[in-house]
Symmetry: C2
């Protein structure tokens, strides 16, 4: 985020923008099917409108998931339009999961705006999430053609994975920092693959399914998305610990201040290193971490190799995603765009 | 609930029990697919287990929805087993909606036990609801045969209806008792048809869809269930106002104490009657109702004809359900059981 964007980054921005434009009309039509109250919360959450209903230009997300879906179809040799219903469904599921996760995590802001539960109340935000969930399934189930049924099956198993990952993430909070019950890095990877990777994998896989690709192609795209999800989550952890507050909008070392069980910390704790033991003692003391302790913890994580391990893990997962994509026959142009998208998403945050 | 049960009531109890036995193994298998934490909350919510995981015999629900699904298949000439996946799905959706609705409504007890959010926390209960929702879709989407796709479509549109009805019910709370913005009895009926009727209609309709019935038969069963839902909700209101605390487990006039916008109250307020105006003044004063005021309000509702209107509405909806069922060719034995089920469900509460 420091120097000017590279040619490749500009190309990715254009790909994302092209995909958003293709999906937007169908997404707007889908949201209009909701109860007006839920449509309002959805428009707010999608960054389309402020809470008073006026347009909020520029605050929408990048639309990574919808892009994966359309590129998944194109990579399978189908026109992007064949996958628009899938792209709408994954965006709706994404917003649903943000709405509910923000309640569970007690997060009051997202992208420098109030979260939906904070703005509308917990009950209404739960229900709006449910409405988006239902609409996502409905959108895919009503998509014409014989590919709707396998698409719904993929979405349904993804939803199950997603809640499993979120459950483990919630349960991590109450587990100890040290000892036999401590969260291991491989448990974190499993959690991230489900909580974050499942939907990214579903996005790419749905494009292939709706594009009529063979099962092996759809599975390769799905696996690539799952790898990408773990890479993204680990990169997000790096940002949450060492990210520039100007960029993240959060205080420095914010994940440590919140005592989050992030990949760098878990990797550091799992290392056989004197700094790991000092870090464990600091975290295990049970005292809230102030700015000084958080800074000290960040240093110890780095000293014990946690930061390097996280950087390596993000790269390893990206390589896994590339391997998945390169292992099946895909249309070269779309494959190129997918391959450009991968590091863009991770480097953005790391 | 006063005299001994009639022969017909005994027969209905046997039908419900037979259906529960047919569905139970598949429901247990489905719940076992959940994250163990969610499986525990589901077992607790289904009345299978106490919070410590020990068996809780006798506290399960009647299983009305699953019975409607199996009878729907039998009425269409198919074996009940063809509809078991549908019965599992509707039970899972029912539990999902209880979990989330109890949070939204702030209800701390259900069937004389703590609600899931009260026992496990709001975040975990939201997530467990999401998990059940996902599992319901997954169960139907993975059902073998070509009928899975239309079954998923029916379930998805039902879920959308269900959240729409719940949204209106939540919004009723902040609407005034009198004036042009007051909730009208027909709005209540629309709300109840969606909030309660949609899932009962889906239950019966799914049985027909999975049993391979023609579209007109499935639609008639679905309509019957929707009528039944309104009847059930209105009867529940009667119970919430005039029910015996010994039976309901709630204080006398509990719906009035909570200022709920129930059908008897809304019908009374909509009547051109002096008691309606006195009732409006009492409710509109904005003061919390004590036991004395609630009793007075109940008398005014009755005087203005609200209780009679609710009783008539429940009967009208039951007649609508019967008409729907009798308008299509159904297997007589299953039709007879469905017809017996209708008044049983409503009289139980009225």
């Amino acid at each position: 985020m420091t120097a000017s964007p590279t040619t490749e980054q500009i190309a990715v921005v254009e790909v994302l923008s092209r995909c958003r434009e293709l999906v937007r009309p169908a997404l707007v039509r889908a949201v209009k099917r909701l109860h007006p109250w839920h449509a309002e919360m959805a428009a707010f959450s999608l960054g389309w409108e402020r809470v008073d209903g006026t347009p909020a230009p520029g605050s929408q997300g990048k639309g990574v998931r919808q892009a994966l879906t359309l590129l998944g179809a194109e990579a399978a040799g189908a026109p992007a339009r064949d996958a628009v219903a899938g792209a709408v469904a994954v965006e709706l599921v994404h917003v649903f999961s943000l709405l509910h996760d923000d309640i569970m995590d007690g997060d009051e802001t997202r992208r420098q705006r109030a979260t939906v539960w904070k703005e509308y109340g917990t009950g209404p935000a739960i229900l709006a999430g449910d409405a988006l969930f239902a609409l996502a399934v409905q959108t895919l189930a009503e998509a014409p053609g014989s590919r709707s049924a396998p698409a719904v099956r993929l979405l349904a198993s993804t939803l199950a994975d997603l809640v499993r990952g979120q459950a483990d993430d919630l349960l991590f909070e109450s587990r100890p920092w040290v000892g036999p019950e401590a969260v291991q890095p491989q448990e974190y990877r499993w959690m991230a693959e489900h909580k974050t990777g499942a939907l990214l994998g579903c996005a790419a896989g749905l494009g292939a399914v709706l594009g009529g690709a063979p099962a092996s192609t759809a599975e390769a795209l799905r696996q690539a998305g799952r790898h990408l999800g773990v890479a993204f989550q680990v990169a997000d952890d790096l940002l949450g610990t060492w990210g520039d507050p100007e960029v993240t909008g959060k205080p420095v070392h914010s994940d440590l201040l919140r005592r989050k069980k992030t990949y760098p910390v878990l990797s550091a704790l799992a290392a056989d290193h004197p700094a790991a033991r000092r870090l464990a003692a600091l975290l295990d003391a049970g005292e809230p971490l102030g700015a000084v302790e958080a800074r000290r913890a960040a240093e110890l994580v780095e000293e014990a190799g946690g930061r390097a391990a996280a950087l390596a893990e993000a790269q390893r997962q990206l390589a896994g995603a590339r391997r998945s994509l390169e292992g099946v026959p895909l249309v070269p142009a779309a494959l190129g765009e997918l391959l450009a998208l991968l590091p863009y998403l991770v480097e953005r945050t790391a």
